[in-house]
Symmetry: C2
Subunit: 431 residues, 2 copies
């Protein structure tokens, strides 16, 4: 039944039926949470054997001869560089391996740019009306970080193969106050899409008005496919080099969703000039990263292949959860015309799109019935989605049964709110 093509009576009847279903589904009281991209307990168990890699009998000598238990070095040990370079499909000499949070690397770079500029440019704190491009829907922590640093956030629509590059190009090439753009190029948060070669090449070929414009390429899910091989993503660093823009990009990754969130290792990959700029402030900011943790990860996985192999175990947990969510949505909403959603092939999220002006009410209604989703708007700058239609769905943490229940509640709430919306707007067929 297509809700957009019904009589008022039919809609009212359908709404009553949906409310009854919802009451029944939730009669025992629910407390479900699909709001965060958090690995499940089962996924944490996958990496437990890594903890046996190092113990009191181990040697802690890295390939370069240094004792990882002691002070020394700010850019990480060679074996960790090589492994994470392989994971990002770049060369080890582009890589600096950091601590437990790639978000910290991003924050440190922007904080550095605010105070000292990038590679000697004018400090961003002195740039009036500084702006950052934010592909939407996107990752809230990216957006809030630059909001914290006083940037104006400019939304750019995500298309099926990446951000709207015509718009990105027009903005970046004409406005010197635009200093950066956030990208999650593979299994994007929250759409799950993968940037096409064409999009990557267009990024690499940008000729920004600002010499210190940077692409923040957060390749957080580079090896997080659900099935088969990982999707191909063109190497942005190589592409930027080829296009004569070697310094335009920082690529980030971490093992947060490979081993243990919060206790992994992270990396940034970029040009020599950018690496020198980063080391130039890191030498003041740290005594160096945790090399023992780097060594543990490197010895356990050995190389990128080891990581990709390990990720198949995560995929075996994750894929069925997404499939279950999609099945419920297809069954319950397939022919209603009131919602559509992306089909992620990897990562941690998919994007759920409602009728305009309904997302906030749907999330709020779900919460009343005991199911928590990411707040509507979180995927947009300032937490405001002007069309109020995007909801990020994060099925990773919940169990299979919980997902089925939660997405069922979502579908019913979507139906109810959509009917109300259609009735309010008068867009129904007069009998």
């Amino acid at each position: 039944m297509n809700y957009l093509n019904q009589s008022i009576e039919a809609l009212i009847k359908e709404k009553t039926a949906c409310i009854a279903q919802l009451e029944k589904l939730t009669e025992k009281g629910l407390s479900l949470d699909l709001s965060r991209g958090k690995p499940s307990k089962l996924q944490l168990e996958i990496s437990m054997e890594m903890l046996d890699t190092l113990n009191h009998t181990s040697d802690f000598i890295a390939e370069n001869g240094q004792d990882c238990r002691n002070y020394g070095g700010i850019d990480g040990i060679p074996e960790a560089k090589r492994m994470l370079a392989d994971m990002m499909d770049t060369a080890p000499d582009h890589v600096l391996v950091g601590g437990n949070s790639s978000l910290t690397l991003m924050y440190q770079i922007i904080s550095h740019a605010m105070i000292h500029g990038i590679c000697g440019s004018k400090p961003w704190s002195q740039v009036e009306n500084r702006k950052f491009l934010c592909p939407v829907p996107g990752y809230d922590r990216h957006f809030t970080m630059v909001d914290h640093f006083g940037f104006e956030l400019i939304p750019v629509p995500m298309l099926e193969d990446g951000p709207d590059m015509d718009m990105v190009q027009a903005l970046v090439e004409n406005d010197e106050s635009i200093k950066g753009i956030w990208c999650v190029p593979k299994y994007q948060n929250p759409t799950g899409i993968v940037f096409s070669d064409e999009v990557v090449k267009r990024f690499a070929a940008l000729t920004p008005k600002a010499e210190d414009f940077r692409i923040f390429w957060d390749n957080a899910y580079c090896v997080h496919a659900f099935e088969g091989e990982n999707a191909d993503l063109l190497d942005i660093i190589g592409a930027c080099e080829e296009a004569g823009n070697p310094d335009m990009v920082y690529e980030f990754c971490s093992t947060s969703k490979i081993t243990f969130p919060g206790s992994g290792i992270s990396a940034v990959a970029c040009s020599n000039a950018n690496l020198a700029d980063i080391k130039g402030f890191l030498k003041f900011a740290t005594i160096g990263p945790d090399k023992m943790n780097q060594l543990m990860h490197a010895r356990y996985f050995q190389n990128g292949k080891g990581i990709r192999c390990h990720m198949k175990k995560h995929a075996a947990v994750m894929a069925p959860k997404f499939t279950a969510a999609y099945r419920v949505l297809e069954e319950m909403l397939g022919d209603c015309g009131i919602a559509h959603w992306t089909y992620a092939k990897g990562g941690y999220f998919f994007s759920y799109v409602t009728l305009q002006g309904c997302a906030t009410r749907i999330v709020s209604m779900c919460r009343e019935y005991g199911v928590k989703f990411t707040p509507a708007g979180a995927t947009h700058p300032y937490g405001v989605d002007p069309s109020d239609c995007h909801i990020r769905i994060a099925p990773s943490f919940a169990g299979m049964e919980e997902i089925t229940m939660a997405v069922g509640v979502l579908a019913l709430c979507t139906k109810i709110v959509s009917i109300e919306k259609v009735l309010e707007s008068g867009n129904y067929v007069v009998a």
Copy 2:
């Protein structure tokens, strides 16, 4: 033989003898390094059993019920807070437990202050002629950090029980552009002295012109006594509270020189207002600290008492090294009148003071003979010691025999350079 009271002939003869001794001592070629406060391999072995605390069979549930393997929390787990609070002699609710580097906490706070101010004050980057007080001799990485952020570094002499508080008070209470002071209050780097109760109380009672003036209390060696119990140091946080200045201080500590340098845990302790200010930016800067490492440390040591007990093993390695260095100095220089030195009761360093204008030449001569000391001047702002007489001695990393050799070379080079200095200046007794 007092060098300051000799005939020219006697001095020339002595110099010749010293050169001969030096040539003999170094005839096999030396390559020794007493430049860095780096634990020795033997000290790293002390903590190896900690690595067996957690393995694939462990549970990772912190006292507050959270799974340390997953995301959650930015201020650390309760058991780590309690342990490090105990170590710093403060209360757990003053403490935020961070990552592997207390230097990073300091850098993040100052970086935050530069961009956003402290607790809402005017951003320090907008404060013209901003200044930081630097007790000298002191820790070079403190000084270079604020130099990096564009502060003018104001030296304040270290006395026997802490910085010259008359000078500190006069400066701080009359100049709004003075935003902070560095302190290593216990077993200070490099003098090894401990701040007296009187000094701590005077710090707490300061009434700075700048409301956002902060004491950076780097209690890096709070449990690093060589013999017996740790020296008493008055709790600065309690003292500031009592004096009605609860927000004036940040105290820092880490386990870098307790377990593994670079792979330890760190903490900052301060008032509620300061903690809220720190959490206010950390929520943008990180997904949280490495809780698994916190849990490992907390389970291994249990509490502050466990740490203090563990530190006796470090003391057993460290104390003889200092004693050996002192013995050589006393034997070779005791009656010469050309150098004196501090007697550290804990920490990683002692301070060696030469005749004025000799330190650079002594360090340089030692290096020619294969012995590396911290560059003269490193203990002072901008790496320049105006009287050129301070050398930081770091005996931790070298072995006993190496220390004896290295300090022997230091003593001989001191003699030779001092004789040259006396001859140059004409301050010798005419026969």
